[in-house]
Symmetry: C2
Subunit: 338 residues, 2 copies
């Protein structure tokens, strides 16, 4: 039987009620105990791992952008929405301006649930249109913070708040990527480099590998201007805010302490990359045939930093996680590739 646990205040509870954060101290919750595989599925997970043209045979790319709605978020949505359905929840609300909103809307549809997605004004029209196409209701808020507040207000009116940045089921859903990588590579890689915003994928990797003898060095790549993890481990980063990494624009991730632990205990690090580095990395990925979104290219930009500073050795087996599909960004991609 699974339980909610709060590592901060020691709160514990059975998972027979919906909780997205600790009702006692307001901190993040985690799940312990046995967890069933998601019942609601759109075919998420078991994504390919490949070498790409122009990179060595020891560099593997984990293609999370081939998940059902075009991003790794689907792993978390499948788990969280399955749990919500198990508890008899018929209506959910979420705040997001992008991939998480599309993903939650799709899995709510797959579960036959009513969904409301609160988006900030100025949300990319294409992403908003996809959320609408999936049958979700859109509510607009002034900005990202207001969107979160509005979503939690709607929760009090009878809908369950998903809160993917907080939700312990969402994090739990990410863990399977670790066993997939281990099976695909027939062993555990030396390092994994992943884009990081609210840290759900980073923590999924860390928690997922903890059950094995070795945890790969986890390198968390953030975009300039949105680098709370980097700044918690190093100095302030004064570079101008990234415009390209639109999926990584999170300034206050609720699981920051856990993210620090994951990076430090694994022997990895946090990195920051600029839009110029993103452009270079994205162009290389596209010209190897990988149609990814700009935010995903941060991982390759981070890899290039590590290689240039000799922090990665030639013989090390590296996994670079490509998190989101570029099919939504034809115009941006064609400009960058030139």
């Amino acid at each position: 039987m699974s339980k909610y646990v709060c590592k901060k205040c020691g709160f514990e509870a059975d998972t027979d009620k919906w909780m997205w954060r600790c009702p006692s101290c307001g901190s993040v919750l985690d799940i312990t105990g046995k967890v069933e595989a998601p019942k609601i599925t759109l075919g998420e997970g078991d994504t390919p791992i490949v070498n790409l043209f122009g990179f060595g045979g020891n560099v593997y790319f984990k293609l999370e952008y081939l998940n059902p709605t075009g991003s790794f978020k689907d792993r978390g949505s499948a788990m969280a929405l399955s749990q919500a359905q198990k508890l008899g929840i018929g209506c959910i609300v979420e705040d997001s301006s992008g991939n998480a909103g599309i993903s939650v809307a799709a899995y709510a549809a797959a579960a036959g649930m009513w969904a409301t997605i609160v988006v900030p004004q100025g949300c990319a029209p294409g992403k908003r249109q996809l959320i609408e196409a999936l049958g979700a209701e859109i509510v607009e808020a002034e900005d990202r913070t207001a969107a979160g507040n509005r979503a939690r207000e709607l929760e009090t009116r009878g809908c369950a708040y998903i809160g993917h940045q907080w939700n312990p089921w969402f994090i739990k859903g990410m863990e399977k990527i670790a066993s997939e990588i281990r099976a695909q590579l027939k062993g555990i890689p030396d390092a994994i480099i992943t884009p990081v915003s609210s840290g759900t994928l980073l923590l999924g990797l860390y928690n997922g590998f903890k059950k094995y003898k070795k945890i790969p060095k986890l390198y968390a790549v953030q975009a300039s201007g949105y680098s709370p993890l980097y700044e918690a481990l190093h100095e302030k980063n004064g570079d101008k805010p990234s415009k390209l990494a639109d999926a990584l624009q999170v300034s206050n991730p609720p699981r920051l302490e856990q993210m620090k632990e994951a990076v430090l205990k694994s022997g990895g690090d946090a990195l920051v990359v600029s839009d110029e580095e993103i452009v270079m990395a994205l162009s290389k990925l596209l010209k190897a045939g990988a149609i990814v979104e700009p935010s995903s290219a941060t991982a390759l930009a981070g890899y290039m930093q590590l290689v240039n500073s000799d922090k990665i050795k030639d013989k090390e087996k590296i996994v670079i996680v490509l998190t989101g599909s570029g099919l939504k960004y034809p115009e941006v991609l064609s400009l960058i590739s030139h």
Copy 2:
């Protein structure tokens, strides 16, 4: 050792030269003998098969839209470009206004080859931008026919013409879908319903299942105005040409005779669906969480025709193939879903 064979004139040749059609009679070629798995890969194939909300447990959806460039074409591109690389070809040319162009451009990039894609004027800007982003050169022709002619002209200047509608390797690359479906369902389904334009996927299914004891009934769904297979088996279809099914607008598929054989010998049929039926089907798919392109929804529209005319029984195990991603079509999808 594999061979090219022409079933029309009996021509045979080793596969140590590049041929996209029979040099003797101009008809289509096929491959016989042992074929190696593609060496160039972007993670194509092994796509998920799922049930979807609102459909019975005997209705399975094969999610070909989760292939690396967002369509089933990647299976064919991987095989054809691998073969081209094996023959030392460093430069390819293809004509396409859509998914095949994106796919061939991506696999050419993955193979480190120079690619030119000839597109008809009026090609969707998003698709054209993706082709450019992948580093391919774009050449514009007046229409679809002119694009084919122009591409074959460029071939004579030292580039290999892929010609996916003709190419025997491209067809060969499609076959694996059959063994995947059989493994995923732990058996062979009673019927498979798939969108059809140049018939590569239909023939892949037919050829792939031929090695087993049973071939599922193959239902080929075409869009109104682009229904040569339907018209070859039934009467002329006078409905107005589909605008929505932009990936199915092929009037003269070179493998029409083979397509007829596949449908008839399997005990299936050809169907035509209108844009109104596509809208209904697409809306259902989106509201079950499947982000597909309009052309893919023809398969579900065809299924609905078959159910309504009692040609499919409740207990039959059905596979509906969803061929292309809707992530490229946010605006169209949001309009349709309302």
